[in-house]
Subunit: 347 residues, 3 copies
C-alpha cells in the first residue's frame, strides 16, 4: 500500500473556531499469552484484554453555549487475538444476547447526551450504576486472570451495562458527592406474564475527595421468575506509597443469593505497578459453594500508553463450587491456577 | 445533513499540499423515548433514529486533475439504543437479507466512484433512484413516528438501496434538470426460473431550481413471481415562511398493487421547525385495506448539529388494514397512536 | 481507563508535536464488473477487490525511546459491492470460521506489537509466513480473475493468516536477509484426540536486495487427521522494463498432496501496468486432476491512489479437475473464462 499516515483533523479556513466539532478516535489493543490449569483440563492460549479491554471508541463533545454541551460515545469491545468483536444485548434479558462471534457492535457504550451545570442526561446503551464498582477504581485487576471472583457471579445482563436506558448523572456537590440514577426498558410485548422482564434501574451515590473514594449502589431488574438485585459498596484510599481498595456485594435473583467481597492493593515502584487482591464469592445453593481467589501481578509501563503486564492467580473451591479460569476445567472443590503475560497499547 | 465535515488530513510540513487525501469521518447518534399504543398491545421503548438515522460514515474524494475526481462513501446504520447495527442485503432479494441483529455493515451506502463535468459513475451498494423520494426532501418526517405511510408499503428490498449496482448521475443541465439511472444484479446462478430475480434498475429525472423541486422515478426489479415496480413523483416549494411538499406512488408486484400519497409542510419559527404531514396507503387486496396517518411535530435546534424533537402521530385503518407503529399491535380497522421525544446529534 | 485520549488532534501550529499519538485510518474501495463463463453456468456480477481488497484499516505506532516502538494494526476486509464484511477464524481450524455474511471483523490483521533494532514481536491475528508468497510481490495479480491457481488450493485456514499467534520478525541482516517465525494455537480443550488441531507455526527466510527478491517458507499446522503442510518458494527480479516473478508450492494434508507453480510478468508503460501470469495446480487424487490458468491484464493509474483495471483469464482442466471462477460452474475437464473491469481507490 502507498498510503500515507493520516490524522483526523478539522479542515477549513477557521479550523480552531470549530474545535468543538472534533471526533475522538481512540482505543486499546491488549493481547497476551495465558496458561490456565484446572484439575481436569488445562490450556495455553492467547487472550485479549488481560490488562485493558481491547476496543475501538468513537466519541465527541459539542459546546452548545451557556454552559451546555452535547456529547456522544460509541465504544466497541474487540477480541483482538482473533479479530472478532464482543456481543451486545438488545433487551436487557438473556434472550437479547447477540451472537458471541460477531462483527463490530457498540456493546460497551452507545449513547447520546446533553449536559450542563445541572448534570447530564444520557440515552442509549450505558454503563449501569454498578459498572464502576468492578473497574480498576475498586478492583486492582478488573480483567484477566486477576479479575475478582465477586464479579464473576453476574446473575443478569445488566451488571455492567444496560440497553434502552435513560441515565441522569448529577454534578459533584457538597465537596464530593455525586449521583448516577438510571432506568432501562426490557421492551417486551405487553400482555404476558414476562412483559416486564428486563425493565429496571438503579442508583449509585459516590463520594470522591482527593485520595478517598467511596460508592454505594442498588440495582434492580424485573423478572417474573424473580427480580435480579445487586447491592454493592466500595471504598478506596490512596496513601501514595500504596492504594488500598475494597468492595462488597450482595446479589440476588429469586431465591438464589450470592455474597462476595474483594480486598486489593496497588503499589507504585518507579515505572512498575505491583498489585494484589483477594476475593470471595459464596452462594446459598446446596452446600453453600464458595470460591476464593488470590491474585498478584505487575504492570511495567513502557510509556504512558504502552505496558507489559503479568498476573498469577489461584482459585480454591469448597462446598461444591468449581470456579475456574477461561480455558481450564476444574472439578468441584478442586483448585485452578492461571498466569497472564501480555502487552497493552492504548491509542 | 448539516454535519460540519471533519477531515482526515495529512500531518506534516506539507499538510495543505495533500488536502485531496482526506477521509471524512462523520455520523449521527439519535436516541429517543417512544410510546406506541395499539388497540391490542402498547409499548414504552427507547428508539434510535427518530429524527435522523444513527450512523457512522467514512467518505472521501480525490482530485484527479482535469476536472475529474474519484470518491468513496461507506455508511453504516446503527440502532444506537442497544449498539447493534442494521442489516444489508447482498442480492437485492429477500433471500439476501443479512441477520437483523448484526455487527457493522455498510448497509446504507458502499460505493466507489469517478466523476467529472460529464457526471459521475458509482459502483457498489447505492441509494436507488427512489431513495430521495422518501427523504426529508419530500417527506417532512421521513423517520420515526412521523414516517409517511406510503413509504411503509415497501414490496422489495430495493425501494431505498440496491447492492451490486452501477449508477450514472448526470450533471445539472438546462437550468435545473438532472438524471439518475441505475442497473443492479441479483447474481443468482443461471439456469433456473428465478435466475433473473433481483436484477433490475430504474431512473429518476429531477428538477431543482431555487425554492422549487420536483422529481419522477420509475424503478423495476425482476422476479419470476411478478416484477416489483415503483412509480413515484414528488414536488416541493419553499415559500420561506413554509415549505410544502407532496409525493405520490404506485407500487406493484405481480397482481398486488398499492397506491399512496403524502402531503407535508414545515414551518420555521426561530430555532424551531414545526412540521406536519398526512399520508395514505391503499392496496388492491380483498376489502381494499387502507391506512391513513396524521403526524405533527417540532424540532428545536440547540445548534447546527444538535436538536431536540418530538412527534405525535395517529393511524386510522379501514377495509381490513392493520397498520401500526413499531412496538404496538393493532387489530384490523382499529387505530394506533405514537409519540416520540428524542435528542439528535450529528458529528 | 488510562487512555491518553487522542488522536484526532487539530491540525495547526502544534501538529507535529503530537505526531506519535497518531492513528492512521486508511483503506481501499475496489469494485468492478465481472463476467464469469463456465461450461455449465455463467454469471455477470459486481465484485469487490479485483485489484486490491476493499478494506478498512486502523493502525498506529508509538515511539518508546531508545530505538524501541509499540504498534498496532487492525484491518478489516469488506465486500464493497453489498457492504458486508469478510469472516475471520477464531481457532485456526474450519470449525472456527465465523459466519460468511457478517459485520466488521478484523479478519485481515489484528495485532499489537513491540519492536526495536533486534526485530519485532507481534501478538494476535497475523499474516502467516506464507502470506507474502501470494501477494503482488510474487503474483502479478494476487486477486480477482487473475489470481494464480496455485493459491486456490488452500487446504487449511492458515495459508494466509493465523489467529492466536505470536510472531518474531527479524531485522534485515547480512545485506538483505530477514526471518519471520511464528507459532499459533488451536486452543481446543485438552484431553481429546484432536486437542492439538489448529496449533502450528512456520518460518520464512527472505532475501531482498534492490531489484532482486527471494523467499522460502515452511508452514505446518497440526491435525489429528493429518498435518497441513505448506512449502513455498518464490523469486522476483525487476529489470526496469519488466518485472518477472515465480513461485512454487508443495501443499499436503495427510495423504492429499498438491503441487503448484506460477510464472508472472509486469511491464510498466507510462501510467499503465501490463501484467500476465501462467499458473498450474495438480493434486495426487485419482486421475491427477490439474488446472492451468492464463491471465493477462492492465492497470491504468489515474493517480497514485486510484486506478482502472481489466483482466481476462482462462482456465483449462484435465484429469478430472473442474477449477472455475466465482459465479461460474464448469464440468470436469472443461474450460472457464472470466473478465474483470473495475475501479480501485485507496484512501
Amino acid at each position: 500500500m502507498k498510503n500515507i499516515p493520516l490524522l483526523l483533523a478539522l479542515v477549513g479556513a477557521a479550523t480552531t473556531a470549530h474545535a468543538q466539532s472534533s471526533v475522538t478516535l481512540t482505543g486499546t489493543v491488549d493481547i497476551g499469552v495465558n496458561y490456565a490449569k484446572g484439575s481436569e483440563a488445562s490450556r495455553t492460549q492467547m487472550m485479549s484484554g488481560g490488562n485493558a479491554t481491547s476496543k475501538l471508541v468513537f466519541r465527541g463533545q459539542e459546546d452548545l453555549g451557556g454552559g451546555m454541551y452535547a456529547m456522544f460515545w460509541l465504544e466497541s469491545g474487540l477480541n483482538a487475538d482473533s479479530g472478532i468483536f464482543q456481543p451486545t444485548n438488545t433487551n436487557n434479558q438473556p434472550s437479547g444476547a447477540t451472537p458471541a462471534a460477531t462483527g463490530l457492535t457498540f456493546n460497551r457504550r452507545s449513547i447520546v447526551g446533553i449536559g450542563g451545570n445541572w448534570g447530564a442526561i444520557h440515552l442509549g446503551r450505558e454503563w449501569s450504576p454498578t459498572y464502576v464498582m468492578y473497574t480498576s477504581k475498586f478492583d486492582p485487576f478488573a480483567l484477566g486472570a486477576g479479575l475478582a471472583l465477586n464479579y464473576s457471579g453476574g446473575i443478569n445482563p445488566n451488571q455492567l451495562r444496560a440497553s434502552n436506558a435513560i441515565a441522569y448523572l448529577s454534578p459533584t456537590v457538597l465537596g464530593g458527592f455525586s449521583l448516577n440514577a438510571q432506568h432501562w426498558r426490557g421492551e417486551n410485548l405487553s400482555g404476558t406474564a414476562t412483559a416486564g422482564d428486563g425493565t429496571g434501574g438503579g442508583a449509585r451515590i459516590s463520594y470522591d475527595n482527593g485520595p478517598f473514594s467511596a460508592a454505594a449502589v442498588l440495582l434492580r431488574t424485573k423478572y417474573a421468575a424473580g427480580d435480579a438485585i445487586y447491592r454493592v459498596v466500595g471504598t478506596a484510599y490512596d496513601f501514595g506509597f500504596a492504594r488500598f481498595s475494597f468492595n462488597l456485594n450482595k446479589d440476588q435473583q429469586g431465591t438464589l443469593k450470592q455474597d462476595g467481597w474483594m480486598a486489593g492493593v496497588t503499589v507504585p515502584v518507579g515505572e512498575t505497578q505491583l498489585r494484589a487482591s483477594y476475593s470471595s464469592i459464596k452462594s446459598n445453593q446446596t452446600g453453600e459453594p464458595e470460591g476464593k481467589k488470590l491474585a498478584v501481578g505487575a504492570v511495567y509501563n513502557l510509556s504512558k500508553r504502552t505496558a507489559l503486564y503479568t498476573t498469577v492467580a489461584s482459585i480454591r473451591n469448597s462446598g461444591g463450587a468449581s470456579f475456574t479460569f477461561t480455558g481450564a476445567t476444574t472439578a468441584v472443590n478442586r483448585s485452578a491456577t492461571a498466569i497472564d503475560l501480555g502487552l497493552r497499547h492504548n491509542f
